[in-house]
């Protein structure tokens, strides 16, 4: 099977029903994508397919129908995405384990809704669990990212 991840092409030989999460982590080695629940209940594994946020733990590899972007393809410590910049400025992370998924969710959301209301932010982000309770800072970071986003 051929897969484009973060701009690179990979040929993987795996079962059709292997979730994208495990292909990314164990076959391709992209550890920035996290496993939290495996049942689409926490959002830690969120990546983009065709720019849309999906839970990679519940996406079979055979259902991947476009290029995949992970947190590691979104930006790097040297060239940060504006949402990552906002996350750093607001110092959102505690353990940080949920934050790859939170950031990927926020990026996809802000692409669709560049000028969200508070209620829209809450709703869009509520599928992403943070056991450390960083929600107040996630809210602030999303709002800061809105200000930083280049005008579309």
């Amino acid at each position: 099977m051929r897969l484009t991840v973060d701009g690179k092409t990979h040929d993987v030989d795996v079962e059709e029903d292997m979730p994208l999460l495990w292909v990314l982590r164990d076959e391709i080695g992209i550890k920035g994508v996290k496993y939290g629940c495996g049942i689409a209940a926490c959002g830690a594994c969120t990546v983009h397919i065709n720019g849309e946020a999906v839970r990679s733990c519940q996406t079979s590899i055979s259902d991947v129908d476009g290029p995949v972007t992970t947190i590691q393809g979104l930006g790097t410590p040297d060239i940060l995405h504006v949402v990552q910049e906002a996350w750093i400025e607001k110092q959102v992370a505690q353990c940080g384990y949920c934050q790859s998924g939170q950031i990927m969710q926020a990026v996809a959301f802000l692409m669709e809704t560049p000028d969200p209301t508070d209620a829209e932010i809450d709703e869009a982000m509520s599928g992403n669990l943070c056991r450390c309770g960083t929600y107040p800072r996630i809210r602030e970071a999303v709002k800061l990212a809105v200000l930083k986003m280049p005008e579309a």
């Binding site: 079962e15 292997m18 979730p19 999460l21 495990w22 982590r25 164990d26 076959e27 080695g29 550890k31 920035g32 994508v33 996290k34 496993y35 939290g36 629940c37 495996g38 049942i39 209940a41 926490c42 830690a44 992970t70 947190i71 590691q72 979104l74 930006g75 790097t76 410590p77 940060l80 990552q84 996350w87 750093i88 110092q91 959102v92 992370a93 505690q94 353990c95 940080g96 384990y97 949920c98 934050q99 790859s100 950031i103 932010i121 809450d122 709703e123 982000m125 509520s126 599928g127 669990l129 943070c130 056991r131 450390c132 309770g133 960083t134 929600y135 107040p136 800072r137 996630i138 809210r139």
Partner: protein, 746 residues
């Protein structure tokens, strides 16, 4: 060769030792004539260095022995060293270092002696000293009990100061300029003419001279870092997917492992059939392990799938199979036969209750899972003469000893590499994950085995927060609370948890009443009694330990009595408060929340106060009773910690603690049916979601004389403040967690 400077007038000594290409500074422990088990390997008169600072050609490394499970421990410990060392946080690397006996934790013991943290009298201090000795004996390099900051606050700054002064002495020797004319900044010694010598270049010489041990710590007014907002050293990797956790560890030749353990935890394994699993792609091996089976495969998912495909015959759990039986065990514990301790007994409670109009109430809290977002895991490689363990753990010393025991490899050759943790909340104070990985790795010697728990195994085989019950009786008189009598029943956390490490702790268990007996209130008749329920399902420390249940019991019942007296919940607490520092906390939260203002219809506010781990915290919560249920609008928190090291991290930890506590209070419980846990993933154990998250306003107070950690103290007052607010808004008293059994939330 190591050298030791003059002994300063403090109980610990910072010294130096030469390392390859540089120097290390750290805490010295001596072998004294009185046998000190801390230093078994040393001859009399020799000393062992526990390094905190290492400077060599590769740069400056600050060694931060307290593990980081998300609370920013690496950053905070590094900041304490850097403050005196005169380095910037972006110039250094932080490394948790190897497990070492000298990394014992003295602050943790404070919570296990029967003196209130507000009591700093002679007897209290002396007794704490005695417990310190036990901690040294155990050599506990334990991260827990919000002790990272209290334990390191002096030691780490001294280490930085000694290193700085020794580097200046080295520069003085090299240049002939008097050390008093030298300055330090940004990892360099600055000569009077402005020329700068890097610490790295001075390190080899610094290793050869006697360390300058006679240093004075800087006055707080001179602090550059402490108390100022800092950028956490891990915030960039944690915002770019570059932070690696235990679950991400990889090493050449590694195989992936999964387990399937008896869902009736601790029950027997009568047999298993792995025929189907062995046919699955990528599966190398299926084997029996303690409590179940283990699978080795070439990928995590394949290992999970194969573990599921193994059919097993399980025996019954060694504790009651049904939840109702757990509750009845608690109900039956309020008797003399189960009496554990009564550390608070002011006035004459029995006499006050006789013939009085007694207010009584009963409260319950369920088992809870820790459920950190990163499931527990461990990678282990066993050879005949060396074992390596890579894992996120709060107890590296125990892990090292256990692994040595299991493998027969000398403890010196058991290397525990502590990795970053994706949360813990107490889960990583246990080490079953390592034990099981070792069992599997011993069967494939030389091959590294990485065991990852599925979320379901992680929650099923967690050691839970204690289940607990309380019964209160009280009397009010002339608008005031006059008699407060609270009995608390739970199984002993300490005996369950320490028992798994092979340590038996005799005597009463102070955690049964922690967060209730030591509260700073002067109620005329005031009694708190702990009853020990015989062990049920095994339990463990969960963020704020005994106080996680007892704060709810104490503050709910106090609120009921204040209501019965017709008094104001905040004003009456302030009137009863017997400690100036705590009273200030209550007054502050009142002022922050504009307590006496009118909230309007269908709204209510509640207050609660708990001192735990030495830190008094008061919270006021505002709720609205909407058509869809209770909405939590705002939470005000006033927290007293003596000194705030990093205000940003402080704010984040307090808010996180509030969210954690409220989420569990609203909708989380672990229950048993057929001996097995019924909630095994986040769909049935939700916690708080962002749409439910209130605005949280935090203020730190620094009036206390001791430095306190803040990881746990915000947790205990949150649930009772919410219950009290719901009562104010609706007239409904909720005496049982989770609250959503009794009321809806938006």
């Amino acid at each position: 060769m190591s050298k030791i400077g003059t002994i300063a007038r403090r109980t610990f000594l910072i010294g130096s030792a030469a390392v390859v290409g540089g120097v290390a500074f750290g805490y010295y422990a001596y072998k004294t004539p009185a046998d000190n088990p801390l230093l078994d390997d040393l001859k009399e008169g020799q000393a062992a260095l526990t390094p905190y600072v290492r400077i060599d050609a590769s740069g400056i490394t600050l060694i931060t022995p307290r593990a980081d499970k998300g609370q920013g421990a690496y950053s905070v410990q590094a900041a304490l060293i850097a403050e005196e060392l005169d380095v910037e946080l972006d110039q250094i690397k932080a490394d948790p270092g190897p497990p070492s006996k000298a990394y014992y934790n003295t602050a943790l013991a404070e919570e296990s002696v029967p003196f209130a943290p507000t009591d700093q009298g002679f007897a209290a201090e002396t007794s704490r000293g005695v417990v310190d000795a036990i901690m040294k004996f155990l050599g506990m390099q334990v991260t827990g009990g919000s002790t990272t900051v209290p334990d390191g606050f002096e030691k780490l700054r001294y280490a930085g100061a000694v290193a700085r002064e020794t580097l200046k002495a080295a520069a003085s020797e090299q240049t002939g300029i008097n050390a008093a004319s030298l300055k330090t900044a940004k990892g360099m010694v600055i000569l009077p003419d402005g020329q700068a010598l890097s610490y790295e270049s001075l390190a080899p010489l610094a290793a050869k001279i006697a360390p300058v041990n006679d240093v004075t710590l800087r006055d707080p007014s001179q602090w550059r870092l402490i108390g100022k907002p800092m950028q956490r050293i891990d915030v960039v990797p944690k915002s770019t997917g570059m932070q690696r956790y235990g679950i991400d560890f990889e090493i050449d030749g590694m195989v992936h492992a999964a387990i399937k353990l008896n869902p009736q935890a601790g029950g027997a394994v009568h047999g298993f059939d792995a025929t189907e699993a062995m046919k699955m792609r990528g599966v190398h091996k299926v084997m029996a392990v303690t409590g179940g089976i283990g699978v080795l495969a070439d990928n995590t998912w394949r290992a999970f799938q194969a573990a599921e495909a193994v059919t097993c015959e399980w025996g019954a759990a060694p504790f009651p199979a049904e939840q109702a039986e757990h509750w009845s065990a608690l109900e039956n514990s309020f008797t003399d036969a189960h009496f554990d301790n009564r550390q608070r007994d002011d006035g004459d409670t029995d006499a006050a209750l006789i013939g009085a109009d007694v207010v009584s109430a009963e409260y319950r809290v369920p088992y809870l899972a820790h459920a950190p977002l990163e499931p527990v895991n461990a990678t282990v490689r066993v050879t005949d003469d060396r074992v390596d363990v890579w894992t996120g753990t709060q107890i590296p010393r125990f892990v090292q000893a256990t692994v040595a025991d299991m493998t027969g490899v000398d403890v010196k050759n058991v290397h525990v590499h502590v990795l970053m943790m994706g949360g813990s909340f107490g889960h990583r104070l246990e080490d079953d994950n390592v034990r099981l990985a070792v069992e599997m790795a011993m069967q494939v010697k030389g091959t590294p085995v990485k065991l990852t728990y599925s979320r379901e195994e992680d929650m099923t085989h967690d050691y839970r927060r204690q289940i607990a019950m309380a019964r209160g009786q009280g009397v009010v008189k002339e608008g005031q609370v006059e008699t407060f009598d609270l009995g608390i029943a739970m199984p002993s956390i300490i005996s369950s948890q320490m028992g798994r490490q092979g340590i038996s702790v005799p005597g009463p268990d102070a955690t049964i009443v922690q967060g209730a007996w030591e509260q700073p209130f002067a109620i005329p008749n005031y009694r708190v009694t702990g009853y020990r329920t015989p062990e049920l399902a095994p339990i463990s420390s969960w963020r704020s330990v005994g106080a996680s249940s007892n704060g709810f019991f104490h503050e709910s019942f106090l609120d009921e009595l204040i209501h019965a007296a017709g008094a104001d919940p905040l004003a009456e607490r302030i009137r009863l408060c017997s400690d100036d520092v705590s009273r200030k906390v209550l007054e502050t939260v009142g002022e922050m929340s504009n307590w006496s203002s009118d909230l309007g219809p269908n709204r209510g506010r509640g207050v609660a106060f708990t001192t735990s781990f030495g830190a008094p915290v008061a919270e006021v919560i505002e709720v609205t009773n909407t058509e869809d249920g209770i909405r939590i609008d705002k939470v005000y928190v006033a927290a007293e910690v003596g000194t705030v090291v990093d205000p940003v991290n402080f704010d984040n930890l307090v808010k996180g603690g509030v969210v954690f506590a409220l989420g569990h209070a609203m909708n989380c419980e672990i229950t048993f049916s057929d001996g097995a846990v019924e909630q095994t993933n986040y769909d049935s154990y939700e916690g708080m979601r962002m749409s439910q998250c209130p605005e949280i306003i935090v203020r730190a107070l620094e009036n206390g004389t001791k430095v306190r950690g803040i990881g746990e103290p915000p947790v205990p007052p949150a649930a009772p403040a919410l219950a009290n607010a719901i009562f104010a808004a609706t007239g409904q008293r909720i005496r049982e967690m989770p609250f959503d059994k009794h009321i809806d939330f938006t």
